[in-house]
């Protein structure tokens, strides 16, 4: 039975979480973890003194005034929570940066930390001058301004976006030290825009249309072919991300969103859509973004991001301070629909326990999973394994390599292992 605690999203804490809470997490680990039980201070006066003794300088002086600044920023104490670049590319113009998953909670990625992948840098586009052309096998070709697009019927949906190259360093051995490095080409946002099915109605698709080319206005003129079924299903012309207009790095003022498809197909700085009866075989789908298989043939058009999960805390580079209870937290997602179950192992996959899933569990969206763990202080190997609503089970790396071989770069969705040492240090391991 899935432990998707629906009550969590809708009111009282009930079900598995409520039962788990009857355990005494804090007192069990009090001495080791610095929890100071105020034993003997049951009288209000003594505890009030303890509370006000804790009042620091910030309580005795006025704080900063309102609107400092008008567009707010994180606390200076969080200055290390930033995107970090790869060291694998020769130029920062065609490169990528990783989201700090180890520092994030929930499922929304703040726009300032959303991962980046650009093929020719970030263009500075004027929204007033930008145009989208829709043409090819249509009855009424159109050229649309942003104002035209903003008037059309819109929807908002929360979806993840993952680069097909996410985790690409990990095929042959543990390489990146942190989950930011291994899995940080993954983010999630609430997107708002126009369903492409609306635009298809407006331009009138001709009989025989099977593909659509999407093309960006960046200097790479990034372009990909998209099957018409996807266009008419859930593809969106997006202008807004997490409430505000797209950031420049995410395609300002207009991008394509293909929920569940590999990141590069979600064309940013979108300037052209062309309908056709065949795919366009662009460089990006013949040379790039194809997967070389053991038999020497390449898989083309590998659109779906298959089910995948990873523990984000504890994760590589962290150090667990002391034995006792702590919550294991992670993310699961599938490009084919909803996550139906996540299991967690603390012994390298020999035993598994079912994790709680945060509701609402949305399709093609990150799902946060959690499980309390009482670390006894010995070595451990932490793993998560997810199953999506199609019944697909996230594979081990050995299972994946047995099918794909070791020549392909993209679509590594295997189970990730984090080793916990006796001293609490957490490292990336293959187990």
């Amino acid at each position: 039975m899935p432990v998707s605690d629906d009550a969590e999203g809708a009111g009282p804490i009930t079900g598995p979480l409520a039962q788990a809470n009857r355990r005494r997490f804090l007192t069990r680990s009090a001495a080791a973890a610095g929890v100071l039980a105020l034993d003997g201070l049951h009288g209000a006066a003594a505890a009030d003194r303890a509370a006000s003794a804790g009042a620091a300088a910030w309580t005795h002086e006025q704080g900063k005034p309102i609107l400092s600044p008008p567009y707010g920023l994180p606390s200076p104490h969080e200055a290390d929570v930033v995107r970090r670049p790869t060291d694998l590319t020769p130029t920062p113009l065609s490169s990528w940066s990783f989201t700090p998953l180890q520092d994030l909670d929930g499922i929304i990625t703040p726009n300032g930390l959303f991962f980046e992948r650009h093929h020719a840098g970030v263009p500075a586009i004027s929204p007033d001058a930008h145009r989208l052309v829709i043409h090819g096998m249509v009855d009424r070709p159109l050229m649309l301004s942003m104002d035209d697009i903003l008037r059309l019927p819109s929807v908002s949906r929360i979806h993840f976006l993952e680069c097909s190259g996410n985790t690409l360093t990990e095929w042959k051995g543990p390489k990146e030290k942190t989950v930011q490095g291994t899995h940080g080409l993954l983010s999630c946002a609430e997107w708002t825009g126009v369903p492409l099915s609306v635009l298809a109605e407006q331009v009138g698709l001709r009989p025989g249309v099977k593909w659509m080319l999407a093309e960006g206005a960046d200097a790479a003129v990034m372009d990909r072919s998209i099957p018409i079924a996807k266009v008419l299903d859930d593809a969106l012309l997006v202008y807004s991300q997490n409430g505000e207009r797209l950031r420049p790095e995410q395609g300002y003022p207009l991008r394509l969103l293909l929920p569940g498809y590999e990141g590069n197909m979600n064309i940013k700085w979108l300037r052209r859509l062309k309908f056709s009866d065949q795919p366009f075989y662009t460089r990006e789908e013949t040379s790039k973004y194809s997967d070389l298989m053991p038999d020497g043939k390449a898989r083309l058009f590998t659109f779906d991001m298959e089910a995948k999960s990873v523990i984000t805390s504890p994760s590589g580079g962290m150090r667990i301070g002391a034995p006792g209870f702590r919550e294991i937290r992670g993310l699961a997602w599938s490009g084919r629909g909803r996550i139906s179950r996540v299991d967690v192992s603390v012994d390298g996959g020999r035993n598994w326990q079912q994790a709680r899933l945060q509701s609402p569990v949305l399709p093609k969206c990150l799902t946060r999973f959690r499980m309390m763990w009482n670390w006894q202080g010995g070595p451990a190997i932490l793993q998560s394994r997810c199953i999506d609503e199609t019944g697909y089970v996230q594979p081990t790396l050995a299972e994946l390599v047995a099918v794909r071989g070791l020549n392909s770069v993209y679509h590594l969705n295997a189970i990730q292992s984090w080793g916990v040492a006796q001293n609490g240090e957490v490292t990336n391991v293959h187990a």
Copy 2:
């Protein structure tokens, strides 16, 4: 029947939206609104030329490199999308700033635009030094560090937060020019933290506990009494907002979240929780944040933010460019649960049409509503009216004033009217 298009959140565009899309929005308004139909350019070559003619400077030069900056910011073209201060307070230390609702889509408010209300400025708190004391009528008083709190079982939930003073300028006549001014003390985020029910289990509530005091570490030492039923229901000890740690303005490193309760009770910079058998009658709940009624008595403890809605586009200060189809968009919310229905009027409340609700519709959360409107170019008065799952219907201002009189400041949740003039100018009106 509610028009909550569940299919919208789960895949293909079907139902009312799909039917609506069969209308020709773009061609109907093409001449007036600048949509350039490429008639006669059905041949791919001609349209390709049109598309590449649209290729601007940004396509011919490399863009900005990756990580500029590591914590990203909005486009310079969106520089006007910022919080704006009130002009009603004598000092920026005890003041508020408004969220630019007219510029936002969906339901998530970016952290940088989340509304502010401080009573003694924003304290600069060190998370390492911060402590939360829990005491009073409990068996095991505790003093917790942030590390202690971060290890505990957590949940994430998307909830709105609204100042009880939101819309306070509008009792006696239309005052603020924009929806940012009338309704901008309203925002919504995904919050992550520890259910207070978990902490209650850990400290052991004594028989007879009925209230909890929550106290902030700011120089105002902001404090409020909270009924124990709310504490054990859905109250959260929050450290994370929209994925990342709380911003300083939102209570870094720790705040209380009381879903659906008036904003000031969601104590920021939280340092103390004290359990008792009676309310504490703090200044904030006797003098402040009470409502003077026509009979001279004051309503105290008016916790719930009642159902309310507002059209955010078109809204005051905008100008509709030309007649034709455009989408009316707005927000609805209720502190008592889910929104079940929103109706929209374009003639000042004489006729109403049911709006589409974006799914998932979550409890105590903003709900985005939308309705296509074919503006013919004449005067119009736009209104929205919501109903929540308790059956409560958002009142007109006249209905609200008939009950509350005109002496009270807070909890104005009446229907908002926007007047559209012949020339397309939109203004705040009472109708």
